[in-house]
Amino acid sequence: MSRNSGRSNRLRRRPSRTVPALIVGSLLLAAAVALVWLAIARLIDGTWSALLQGPRDWLTALTWNSPAMWGIGITAVVVGLTLLLCAIIPGGFIALTVRNTARDSTGGEPQVKERETVMTRRAVAHLAKALCEQVDGVSSAAATATDKRVHLSVKTTLRDTGELRTRVTESVRDRLNATGLDPVPRVTTTVQFKG
C-alpha cells in the first residue's frame, strides 16, 4: 500500500526493517558520492586520483582463484543472504489485537466500515507489571511482552514461591483477558525470593 494513498497502514504490523535499510542506504549513498567525486576529478584533472593507485595495483595482480577472490565471493554470499533474511523473516507483530465487543452491541447503522484495535507490546508489558504489583506478596515486578507471550519476573519476601507464582499468573491472565486481548498471550512467571 502506498504511503500516500489516504488509507492508514495497519497498526498491527511486522517490523519495518528500518535499521538494515538505513545501513544499506547509507553505504549505497557513500559509494555513489565517492564514485561521482572521482569521476568529476578525472574529468577536471585529466587523470584518475592518486587514491586509486593502490586498489588498481592490487586489482591487476589478482587472479580468479586467489584467496582474496574467495574472500570477496564468500563475503558477497554472506551479505546477500543476510539482506535476504532481513527481508524475508517476518518478525513478531509490534502490537496485540484487542477484542472490541462494543461494536457488536451498539446496533443501528454502522458508523465505521473497518475497525482495528490494538495494544502495543510495551503497553501490555506495562499493564502486566502494574497488575502484578497489585498482587499481595509481590515486592517488585518486571514484565516483558511479545505478541504471544508475557513473562513476569517477581521478587517476593515470601518463602513459598510456588503458590505466589500461581496466583500472579492467574491474576494477570484474567485481567489481560478482561482487557480484551485476543488471543490472550501465554503468561509465565518466575518468582525470586528476596531474603
Binding site: 500500500m1 504511503r3 489516504g6 488509507r7 492508514s8 497502514n9 495497519r10 497498526l11 519495518s16 526493517r17 528500518t18 538494515p20 535499510a21 538505513l22 542506504g25 549505497l28 549513498l29 559509494a31 555513489a32 558520492v33 564514485l35 561521482v36 584518475w48 588498481r56 591487476t60 589478482l62 587472479t63 580468479w64 582463484n65 586467489s66 565471493g73 564468500i74 558477497a76 554470499v77 546477500g80 543476510t82 539482506l83 535476504l84 533474511l85 527481508a87 524475508i88 484487542v98 472490541n100 465487543t101 462494543a102 461494536r103 451498539t106 454502522p110 458508523q111 465505521v112 475497525r115 484495535t117 490494538v118 495494544m119 502495543t120 510495551r122 506495562h126 502494574a130 478482561a178 480484551g180
Partner: protein, 204 residues
C-alpha cells in the same frame, strides 16, 4: 500512527540480497574453476584484469558513464534514506459540500482536535492523539489513546463506539471507512480528573 516504508524496505533488501548472492555464487564458481569448464569463461588461474586498466577507464565516455551511474545510485540511496522518515500523511482540507450556494470546507486537524478533547475527558484516559486521513466522503481515523494502568479498556471502547465515533461520523455526514485505535498504558494519572455527570437548570 505514523506510516513507515516497510514494503519499500523489504522490496529493496530482497533485490539487493538476490543480486549480491548471485554475484557471490558466480565469483565462487569462477574461483573454483566450475564456470571456466561449464561456461567457457577465463581459466581460474588467469588474472582478473588482463593488462592495463587505462584503455578501459581512460576514455571520456566511460568516465561520464561512471558519473551517471554514481548519480543514479546516489539519488536512489538518498530517496531510500528519506523514505525511512515516518510520515503522518494527514488528509488535505475536507470539502464537505460544494454547490451553487457555496462551499463548506473543514481542516481535518480541527476535527482531530475535537476528537482528542472528547477522548481526553473519558475516564482513565491520560492523553490521546487523533489523525484523520482520506477524504470527507471516505474518512479514516487513526487514534492513539494512552490510558492509566487501572483503566477499564472495554468500557473505554464502549464509550468510543457510542459517542466519539458517531459524533465524528455525524460531523462529517459520512460513515468512517476505517477506525484504527492504538491503546498505550501509562503509570501517569489522568490530567483531567474523573468525569462527573451533573444535572441542573440553565438560566438565560
Amino acid at each position: 500512527m505514523k506510516q513507515t516504508a516497510g514494503t519499500l524496505n523489504r522490496t529493496w533488501l530482497t533485490v539487493l540480497g538476490i543480486l549480491l548472492l548471485a554475484a557471490g555464487i558466480a565469483l565462487l564458481l569462477q574461483a573454483a574453476g566450475v564456470l571456466p569448464t561449464r561456461a567457457n569463461t577465463a581459466p581460474a588461474g588467469d588474472k582478473v584484469v588482463p593488462g592495463d586498466l587505462y584503455p578501459y577507464f581512460g576514455v571520456s565516455w566511460v568516465v561520464v558513464l561512471l558519473m551517471v551511474i554514481g548519480l543514479i545510485v546516489g539519488v536512489l540511496g538518498l530517496m531510500w534514506l528519506i523514505a525511512q522518515i515516518p510520515r503522518k500523511n494527514t488528509a488535505d482540507t475536507y470539502r464537505l459540500s460544494d454547490g451553487a450556494q457555496g462551499r463548506t470546507t473543514c481542516d481535518p486537524s480541527v476535527l482531530a482536535k475535537a476528537v482528542e478533547n472528547q477522548v481526553n475527558n473519558l475516564p482513565g484516559v491520560v492523553t490521546s492523539s487523533a489523525l484523520l486521513r482520506g477524504t470527507a466522503t471516505e474518512p479514516n481515523l487513526t487514534l492513539k489513546v494512552t490510558v492509566t494502568d487501572t483503566a477499564d479498556v472495554q468500557d473505554l471502547l464502549r464509550q468510543l463506539e457510542t459517542s466519539t465515533l458517531p459524533n465524528l461520523s455525524t460531523a462529517l455526514e459520512s460513515p468512517l471507512q476505517e477506525s484504527r485505535l492504538q491503546i498505550d498504558v501509562s503509570s501517569r494519572n489522568q490530567n483531567t480528573g474523573t468525569v462527573v455527570r451533573s444535572t441542573g437548570t440553565v438560566i438565560q
